[in-house]
Amino acid sequence: MRYIFLATLVFAASPLAAEDPDIGAIVERHVLPGYATLAAESANLADSAEADCTAGNPTLTDAYHSAFDDWISVSHLRFGPSERDDRAFALAFWPDPRGSTPKALMGLIRDEDPVVLNPSDFATVSVAARGFYALEFLLFDPQFSDAGNPPYLCNLIKAVTADIAANAEAISDGWQTEYAALMLNPGNDTYRTQTEAAQQFFTALSTGLEFTSQTRLARPMGSFDRPRPNRAEARRSERSLRHVSLSLEGTRALAMMISNGNPEVGTAFEAALQRAADLDDPVFAGVAEPRGRFRVEALQQSIDGIRDLLALEVGPDLGIAAGFNSLDGD
């Protein structure tokens, strides 16, 4: 017994520094279950709307929150099946700097556009009028939820939820039947090597964190002289801060796998999640006041810090150099 214990110690002490991340584990424990859960909860959302499409009915509201949570938890995994046919954009049209979503929804309602009666027709509607952010307007914004013509609104809600379910199912199905194999068995046109698959995950991780910092937080922050709390993501259903926490948890799961459990990375995520929890400001209303703004800014900085840490500690092991030009993006 004692000898076995010693042998284990010796093995653990041998250098493991440049160990490749376990792509199989990331695909099977992070990606596939994430998208499968989204597909299941989205199907439940569509069923709930089919059963009772009244805005404000608690079953529908719960189903909305639950499916939206599942989307945010995988929203950093933006490659492959999510990008085919603009599925992810059809699930999540945000940010919306020109107010395209309310405009497009108003147009459908005003014209009583029969496109809502047939799922394949509705799939041709502008992505601005589809997905979770459109549904939020319909369920939580009085200009829609209290608008005239309840029967049309009901059909529209059913169409949007059915479309969400179809897209979530298509992404999950794409991963299970085709895309997972491309990543698990590199040496194909998409992933020539396992390193390329790891690089794809690293890019998704870094881009996901950037989106949370530079869009989810920066949009409502605006400038010091002109804060923009009305630009907070999904503020009508009070989900703005929740999205930050959920996406931090989702990216943390990926970061820990891709960094082989790097404790510094874990600590950095822990600190950012704690800052988010301490904010206690579900729609970032606090950005309108200097004190509240500084706290959101501190959260933003801690997320940017995670990205820097990953670029420094994890990227180089995956052959991702932090180049002066390659990182510039212009």
């Binding site: 490659f79 492959g80 990008e83 085919r84 603009d86 954009f89 049209f93 940010p95 700097p97 020109r98 395209s100 502008s126 992505v127 601005a128 046109d189 998409t190 794809q200 950037e210 989106f211 530079q214 869009t215 920066a218 949009r219 922050m221 605006g222 400038s223 002109r226 923009r228 150099a321 180049g323 002066f324 030009n325 390659s326 510039d328 993006g329 212009d330």
Partner: protein, 351 residues
């Protein structure tokens, strides 16, 4: 008061006051912005052999530059979303003028002079309305702003003078950004890039849009041959497994368009940083810092590929092409290399 068009037309006809010429600063062949090892940002002149002929400090990271066609003046543009551009006397290193973007605007990092050097055109973002603008500045009068017009799209980036000297070609990248959210892309699902040809007084003459399947291809950088062929380099905003080209050649008027299939999203990591057309008007070179390669084309047919880490700047020489990298190299593709302790920034501008 003259209207904008007649005023600009009058400026075009105006004469030029003699000032120090490029020969007075060691006849640099190229301009490039860069970052020194101590983190200081500079604009440098480079000789045809890749030696530094002058080095001037910049207040922040640069992007591209524009050399005055006659006198030794260079405009260094701030990196997007910067609001300044600095006109430097390359003899004394003195700042001649400082361009400030008007309220509600920022620069994109590129600009170009008219053939006589009297006017400077800059690409700008009118960010609340998300409209691309071309600012017009009078180089004859302390670079005073004298007008502006539409760029023909959202997110104008590179801009070049056409060989007819009466029109400009603008790469409207199609991506909406707002300085409050830095470089965050706000409209990817609906973005629409285009290549716009505009007269010097702002009339839209012709416009190229790519096919629907290329909706997320952002036209960013341009090079124009003496015969008027426009090489355009793109940056793909979708999935990196897409099998689409990032380089095209367009002929205004005939509308002839060719795409370089081997400048593919996959091969180049979705990203071209710079493009140049050889003096023969036939050969094209394009760089991808993300893939670390320079590709060479005859027309749109791939004829060679060179690996170089963090390569981005590229310009034509008498013999072929010269490239620069973020690791300090200035390399003739024919072989000769100079190394400097400066990380060369995105663009190498031929004077």
């Amino acid at each position: 008061m003259p209207n904008r068009r007649s005023f600009i037309a009058g400026m075009l006809a105006a004469g030029l006051v003699p000032k120090p010429t490029w020969a007075d600063v060691g006849s640099p062949a190229f301009l490039s912005a860069g970052m020194k090892q101590d983190g200081a940002y500079v604009l440098c002149g480079l000789s045809a052999e890749g030696q530094i002929t002058f080095e001037l400090k910049l207040p922040a990271r640069g992007h591209a530059a524009a050399g005055h066609p006659k006198v030794a003046q260079a405009v260094a543009f701030a990196r997007r979303p910067g609001t300044y551009a600095i006109v430097l006397d390359c003899v004394s290193g003195r700042q001649i003028a400082r361009l400030s973007a008007p309220p509600g605007r920022h620069f994109y990092g590129h600009g170009v002079f008219s053939a006589d050097g009297d006017l400077l055109f800059t690409t700008e973002n009118e960010f609340e309305a998300a409209r691309g603008r071309i600012g017009v500045w009078n180089a004859q009068n302390d670079y005073e702003r004298i007008g502006e017009f539409s760029s023909g799209g959202i997110g104008p980036h590179d801009i070049k003078l056409m060989p007819d000297e009466r029109s400009l070609v603008v790469a409207n990248g199609g991506i909406e950004t707002h300085p409050e959210t830095g470089r965050t892309k706000l409209n990817l699902p609906t973005m629409q890039s285009n290549l716009s040809y505009v007269s010097l007084d702002g009339e839209l003459l012709e416009q190229l849009r790519l096919d629907r399947d290329q909706q997320k291809n952002s036209i960013r950088h341009l090079a124009v041959s003496g015969q008027g062929a426009v090489a355009f380099a793109m940056q793909w905003q979708g999935d990196l497994a897409a099998d689409l080209p990032l380089l095209g050649l367009h002929q205004a008027r005939s509308g002839h368009l060719e795409l370089a299939e081997q400048a593919s999203v996959r091969r180049l990591n979705g990203y071209l940083g710079s493009v140049a057309v050889a003096k023969d008007g036939l050969h094209v070179a394009a760089t991808s810092p993300r893939a670390g390669v320079v590709q060479n084309f005859a027309g749109v047919a791939l004829v060679g590929e060179t690996s170089l880490t963090d390569v981005c700047g590229v310009a034509a020489t008498n013999a072929g092409f010269i490239v620069t990298s973020g690791q300090g190299l200035v390399r003739h593709l024919s072989g000769q290399t100079k190394s400097h302790n400066i990380a060369w920034d995105n663009h190498l501008i031929a004077i």
